[in-house]
């Protein structure tokens, strides 16, 4: 087991190195930060001097070596635009994305669990069939269409909800700026999190339904029936408990999807989170910020996946994980 975990860690480091090299290479290819920021009447030599000053004219490997050395000390460079350490910039935006994802996930769980369970318990019922049909429909509507039309109707046509940003935030325990503890912040949170939840819910309805059906067919549930345990107790205590763990681990792998979706949602609602920051950095050609974002997101991916692998391997020994042959 220990060697399995160690091997996973080594792999994680290799992956991160690859990501760091890729994101470093991107720096040189993504437009020219100098041209972007200098005003219109600046001569070529002045720009060239500025490039020298920023170290943009050194050989690639020298630049990468410098980049890695600094990265190991927790210094992923200074954002051209924010003039702050890129990690600080990202850390400042992280709470917004986390809160958005958290609220979306809460909505997803609240909606998906009862629907998924219901569809699993009564597979032939017409209501179950329509739940499944609607979940397929939900899967078929791209998130940007959902977000744009929600914004159009709720913010523009009916003027019920704000259309952009986070609104008021409050400092929580001196740790982060939260929009969860005041009305304005919650109002701002509503549309983006509903959009995210809208596309994630069908995924989870199907996941929960499928896992639940599996569990209901298992021996110990049949045993529970024969013992005469009441139906609600079987469904909601015994079966659901065993359904949720695989659902959560499989859901963990959806982190990547979630992050991609936050990029789209945040861009549309100008939610000041990491995804919006990233798209902003791409348009501004803020190369250090782009590569720092990739590394941070890569880190999140690698950590969640390694965790999920280990947890899933422990929970469900039926699944043979390659390299885990203990």
């Amino acid at each position: 087991m220990l060697s399995f975990v160690l091997r996973r860690l080594l792999q994680a480091v290799l992956v991160l190195l690859t990501i760091s090299f890729a994101s470093f290479m991107i720096q040189g290819k993504l437009g020219d930060p100098v041209r972007q920021m200098v005003g219109t009447s600046v001569s070529v030599e002045q720009r060239e001097a500025l490039r020298d000053e920023l170290g943009l004219n050194d050989p690639t490997l020298v630049q990468y070596g410098r980049f890695l050395g600094q990265a190991l000390q927790g210094d992923l460079g200074t954002s051209y635009y924010y003039k702050e350490s890129t990690l600080t910039v990202i850390a400042n935006r992280l709470p917004a994305t986390l809160e958005l994802s958290f609220c979306a996930l809460v909505l997803v769980i609240v909606m998906a669990t009862p629907l998924g369970v219901f569809a699993a318990i009564n597979p032939k019922n017409w209501l179950s069939r329509s739940i499944l049909l609607f979940s397929t429909l939900g899967l078929s509507i791209p998130i940007f269409i959902v977000a744009v039309f929600l914004m159009y109707f709720f913010a523009i046509e009916w003027r019920l909800l704000p259309s952009f940003g986070r609104g008021d935030t409050t400092q929580v325990l001196g740790l982060w700026q939260s929009g969860l503890f005041n009305k304005d912040g919650l109002m701002h949170l509503l549309l983006p999190s509903v959009s995210l939840a809208f596309v994630m819910t069908p995924i989870f309805i199907r996941l929960i339904r499928a896992e639940m059906i599996d569990v209901l067919q298992s021996d110990y549930i049949r045993f529970a029936w024969s013992k005469g345990i009441s139906a609600p107790r079987i469904y909601f205590i015994h079966a659901l408990k065993n359904t949720m763990l695989p659902v959560i681990t499989v859901g963990g792998i959806q982190t990547g999807t979630l992050i991609a979706y936050t990029i789209l949602t945040e861009s549309i609602f100008q939610w000041p989170g990491m995804g919006f920051l990233f798209m902003d950095a791409v348009t501004r050609v803020d190369a250090p910020l782009i590569s720092a974002y990739l590394i941070v997101v890569g880190l999140i991916f690698v950590v969640t996946n390694t965790l999920v692998d280990v947890v899933y391997g422990l929970v469900n020994p039926r699944v043979r994980i390659p390299g885990y042959s203990a």
Partner: protein
């Protein structure tokens, strides 16, 4: 004691009612730094007008209004004497004197972005506490136009830490002390810039009553407009042409649209394409493009179709040079030039820089198709576009030009002069057109102190390039702001697109 409390109370109440307005402004991009000398951009100058004061500034009619300078006169051909106000305090509490002006101008000469404008200034001398002499390298007709960019900075405040470095983490990029109507209270780059009224502002004739001004950058046109429609912000700019009809229809919201001077053109690269060296081809392309239709359909009338480079307030403007559209004549010219069958060209345009840029590029490509010129169009975000622009990678390039000096010659210097890396002349001449006569005319106009002769020289250049069809002028972009109806924007927003927020009056 009681009386004093009452009086104090009245003062507080009085000031509250006089200065109660809190305004939130959504713009497309926030200034990159608190240092006004770090970037020469529209957003940067807008910020400077709120937090700093220039020596002089433009009035709505194009004349100059004294600000920190009270008067100015030419001592000789190369020297201007400027007298300063003696009652101005910086936000730090320091008094503004001639030393600050000398400091500011010398710093501007060190700024990467501003040095091109200020190169003409040889040096500045302090004469007494409120007088300076400004020496130029040669007689220069546009001295005041340049002084409008001298936003005086606090020498004592910045002393010893006055570096001006692009993207640098300098003291000045994070700390600020100006003389302007607003004091910076809080800035989160990319999210908000919060300003509060300067209680000790020297200009007591101003009727401005905005107590708090918040600037919020919102990149996407539709999100920005949505913010105004939902009441999240009070003022927005720019407004996308497609949304203007909606804005005018919405009760409680009004639109101010002012003719601007930024000209948007297409440049045909004569070094890359042999065909473009034929003046008939260039004329045919000019005739094939229907500028008025573009302005009407894509800009919804919020622009002026251009047949030349200089907008009407500029001295080089020649009223007779109107945009021509004649498809038959264009086809005829193509035939005469031997290109009846047409040819294929590449074209590039930015997609987030000028009003409707991408749509206009597409429309222009479709119009050129009608004289059998097939256009492979690529549009890019501005950051990538201007890199490609510098390398001249496409045959046809789109460019918008706002003359910083608000003078025709600035356009000619950068867009028409033979490209010369040493002097920086023709830096944006993607036509790669080179005409020594025009070059010498430009040099002449830069020294000509006699206003009439200067106007004549500028118009001469404008006519010459019209006849030669050097570029395809498309339109002059309008400056469009939208605000809640109770905000009187018209006397604040001007043809320069430098709103003087200090003068904004709101009745609530």
């Amino acid at each position: 004691m009681l009386v004093r409390v009452l009086i104090l109370g009245c003062i507080v109440l009085g000031s509250l009612s006089a200065y109660a307005a809190q305004i939130r402004v959504a713009i497309d991009a926030d200034p990159i730094s608190l240092d006004p000398h770090e970037q020469l951009s529209e957003g940067g100058i807008q910020y400077s007008h709120a937090v700093f004061d220039p020596l002089v500034r433009w009035r709505h009619d194009g004349s100059f209004e004294p600000r920190l300078a009270t008067s100015w006169q030419m001592r000789d051909d190369n020297t201007m004497r400027v007298t300063l106000r003696d009652d101005v305090l910086f936000h730090s509490g320091n008094a503004m004197t001639a030393d600050d002006v000398v400091f500011t101008i010398r710093r501007l000469k060190r700024s990467v972005d501003f040095k091109a404008l200020f190169n003409i200034i040889e040096d500045v001398d302090k004469i007494d506490a409120y007088t300076v002499d400004i020496h130029t390298k040669h007689p220069y007709p546009l001295m005041l136009n340049i002084l409008a960019y001298v936003f005086v900075m606090d020498q004592q405040y910045y002393a010893g830490q006055d570096d001006v470095i692009k993207f640098g983490e300098t003291f000045a990029s994070k700390n600020v002390s100006g003389t302007g109507p607003f004091i910076v209270e809080k800035r989160i780059a990319g999210q908000t810039l919060e300003l509060v009224r300067n209680a000790l502002y020297w200009d007591d004739e101003s009727d401005g009553n905005v107590e708090r001004l918040e600037m919020i950058p919102i990149r996407s046109d539709s999100t920005r407009l949505a913010a105004l429609l939902t009441g999240d912000v009070d003022i927005v700019s720019p407004v996308a042409p497609v949304d203007m009809a909606r804005v005018s229809r919405t009760p409680g919201i009004s639109l101010s649209s002012i003719a601007g001077t930024r000209v948007v053109i297409l440049q045909m690269n004569e070094s890359r394409r042999e065909e473009f060296r034929d003046v008939r081809v260039r004329q045919a392309m000019n005739l094939a493009i229907n500028q008025s239709l573009i302005v009407e359909k894509i800009l919804r009338g919020h622009g002026v179709a251009a047949g030349q480079l200089s907008a009407s307030p500029f001295q080089g403007h020649v009223p007779e040079l109107t945009p021509q559209y004649d498809l038959e004549r264009a086809k005829q010219l193509m035939k005469e030039a031997g290109y009846e069958e047409g040819f294929r060209v590449t074209m590039m345009a930015p997609n987030n820089r000028y009003m409707g840029d991408e749509k206009i590029a597409q429309a222009a490509a479709a119009m050129l198709q009608k004289i059998n010129i097939t256009v492979d169009l690529k549009t890019l975000p501005k950051a990538q576009y201007f890199q490609q622009y510098d390398q001249r990678v496409a045959d046809v390039m789109m460019l918008g030009w706002q003359a910083d000096t608000f003078d025709s010659n600035n356009i000619y210097e950068f867009l028409l002069a033979c490209p010369n890396p040493d002097t920086g002349m023709g830096a944006y001449n993607a036509s790669e057109y080179c005409n020594p006569v025009i070059d010498s005319d430009i040099r002449h106009a830069n020294r000509e102190m006699n206003p009439e002769r200067r106007v004549h020289a500028l118009r001469q250049i404008e006519r010459q390039i019209y006849d030669d069809a050097v570029v395809i002028p498309l339109y002059w972009q309008s400056i469009v702001w939208a605000a809640k109806s109770d905000i009187e924007l018209d006397h604040v927003v001007n043809f320069l697109n430098f709103p003087y927020w200090g003068n904004l009056e709101v009745e609530r």
